[in-house]
């Protein structure tokens, strides 16, 4: 996969994205989208327009209702439980973290390496140590998800998604519900990952995030997409996005007013 740099990481052609809760209902129609290695995409849209369904489709977890979805050149419809090689190249961070509530944060992060590399618990503990330190999770390693705030749950979910060293990172609402310090940390860390972090061997990660609030994502080199009325629109840059007359985009681009208490 990484040996074939010319193949798009993700390629959707005339795809209809189905809803997770109602698999037969299309939430986005006729999506044609190509993501090249190392690109940083921001997908904007209001609630319930199918952003998470699009991410699940791209990750190969939800087959498209129509058209094709290719991950590293392979049709995701061919994915089965027995051959998750392409799937493991995609890390997915859900909006609420979706950690396994019976496991501690460290056990949650260690689960993918324990399962796929058949490591014992002490071996896995050593393998995830670097991630716990990097994401400042070491003091909370043995806490259960129910005892930890959303800020740290999302960070643990990010560690769990990155621990297998994927080539693509999908984040659903990474900044949603976070405090200011954590928002800044996420923006900075995702930026480092996009440019190539040493913990991933300096390889730039392909990143796709979803958001309902575009201003924090204004940065050079990022590409944007909008989900609206079951349609998918792409924009090559922030300038193109800002020049669009779309009223929905205008709303998503507007900074929320500061509320002073």
């Amino acid at each position: 996969m990484s040996d074939r740099p010319n193949i798009p990481v993700i390629e959707l052609q005339a795809s209809a994205i189905s809803a997770l809760r109602e698999v037969a209902r299309p939430v986005v129609k006729n999506v044609t989208w190509t993501v090249a290695p190392g690109e940083f995409w921001v997908i904007a849209g209001q609630q319930h327009v199918g952003k998470v369904d699009l991410l699940l489709t791209v990750a190969g977890l939800l087959p498209p209702l129509a058209g094709t979805c290719r991950l590293f050149g392979r049709d995701t419809r061919e994915f089965g439980g027995a051959d998750p090689a392409e799937r493991l190249q995609v890390g997915l961070v859900f909006a609420g973290g979706q950690l396994f509530h019976q496991l501690t944060l460290a056990e949650n992060i260690a689960l993918p390496v324990r399962y796929h590399r058949n490591l014992t618990a002490p071996e896995a503990e050593r393998a995830i140590g670097v991630w716990l330190d990097l994401l400042e999770l070491t003091p909370l390693a043995h806490a259960l998800p129910a005892d930890v705030s959303l800020d740290w749950l999302k960070r643990a979910a990010l560690a769990r998604a990155l621990v297998l060293q994927p080539q693509v990172l999908l984040c659903d609402h990474p900044l949603g519900g976070l405090g200011t310090r954590h928002r800044q940390w996420w923006l900075g860390f995702l930026d480092q990952l996009g440019r190539g972090h040493e913990v991933l061997g300096g390889r730039p990660l392909t990143i796709i995030v979803t958001t309902e609030d575009l201003p924090p994502w204004k940065a050079a080199g990022r590409r944007f997409a909008l989900l609206r009325d079951e349609q998918f629109f792409t924009y090559a840059s922030w300038a193109e996005l800002a020049a669009s007359p779309d009223p929905m985009l205008h709303e998503l681009l507007t900074d929320p007013p500061d509320i002073e208490l």
Binding site: F79, G80, G81, R87, F100, L111, R114, Y115
Partner: protein
């Protein structure tokens, strides 16, 4: 083309359209709808059972470092942790059955049938069925609530996103734990009930030495009892676990659906065990 296990199971599990349809106008409509729901549920349970068996065999060497500790954990939960409760139930069952049996048999002067009555009632029927009901209530209900909550909170999608088959990680250990727990606890319950039964008979002044009691029990038991008992307990364990896991995991749930599917799973578990028991009664009668 290979479909994902849970997606395949969910395709068979869609009975909600029928369940949420408007009230039927006639009794025949009502009956027809019930039959449809029953057939769809049977189809879903059958498919889910086959998927579980397939994963159990196909992935028996996959991720043993994670799955084996999970199996041990489930055996502890469905077996070892239940032992104190089962000792109490075994004492109660022995006293209850023997108390009634001794008084009834003494009236008609048929105390020679005491041991064979114990074998028929405790070994063949009450032991396995009571164990199944207790395990269904205490562990099966917990399974469906745990899995239903995990499903509703999106943890199943998170597992799939990590390339971990939810059937392998969540279902297989529970099914194996329930089968092992069901088998062992039935044996403990039967042994406990037979021992406490003798104690009860002794306290009621029945003239029966321990040696004679054991000899009578051994005489009343045949090899078929052992074979069918083992088969019955393993099948009960499998069915209870599959019914609980199917309702908890096989279909997308919202958090408010969890209590409803828990009730449905326990009801269907009881019905399934009773139906299987009827099949075994036929087997005993034929033998």
């Amino acid at each position: 083309m290979q479909k994902k296990n849970l997606a395949t199971a969910a395709a068979f599990a869609d009975t909600e359209v029928l369940r949420n349809a408007p009230l039927p106008r006639t009794w025949s409509d009502y009956l027809g709808r019930k039959i449809f729901v029953l057939l769809l549920t049977l189809q879903g349970l059958g498919a889910f059972s086959l998927i579980t068996l397939g994963v159990m065999l196909r992935k028996r060497h996959v991720a043993v470092g994670v799955i084996h500790p999970r199996i041990r954990q489930e055996i502890h939960r469905s077996g070892v942790a239940m032992v104190p409760m089962f000792i109490l139930v075994a004492l109660g069952l022995g006293f209850l059955v023997v108390g009634q049996t001794v008084s009834a048999l003494t009236k008609v002067g048929a105390m020679d049938y005491f041991s064979s009555t114990m074998v028929i009632v405790v070994v063949r029927e009450l032991g396995p069925l009571l164990t199944a009901m207790l395990l269904l209530a205490r562990v099966g209900a917990a399974h469906v609530i745990e899995l239903g909550t995990a499903r509703a909170l999106g943890e199943v999608e998170a597992l799939e996103a990590l390339g971990i088959d939810p059937v392998h990680y969540l279902i297989v250990p529970r099914v194996l734990g329930m089968m092992a727990g069901m088998f062992c606890l039935t044996i403990y319950l039967i042994l406990g009930a037979l021992a406490s039964g003798y104690l009860c008979a002794f306290l009621q002044g029945v003239d029966l030495s321990p040696g004679d009691y054991v000899r009578q029990l051994a005489g009343a038991l045949s090899w078929l009892d052992f074979v069918l008992l083992a088969l019955k307990t393993v099948i009960f364990g499998f069915v209870i676990a599959v019914v609980a896991c199917y309702h908890g995991l096989a279909q997308p749930l919202r958090i408010q659906d969890v209590s409803r599917v828990a009730v449905r799973a326990v009801t269907q578990g009881v019905i399934a065990c009773v139906l299987i028991d009827l099949i075994f009664i036929v087997l005993y009668l034929l033998s």
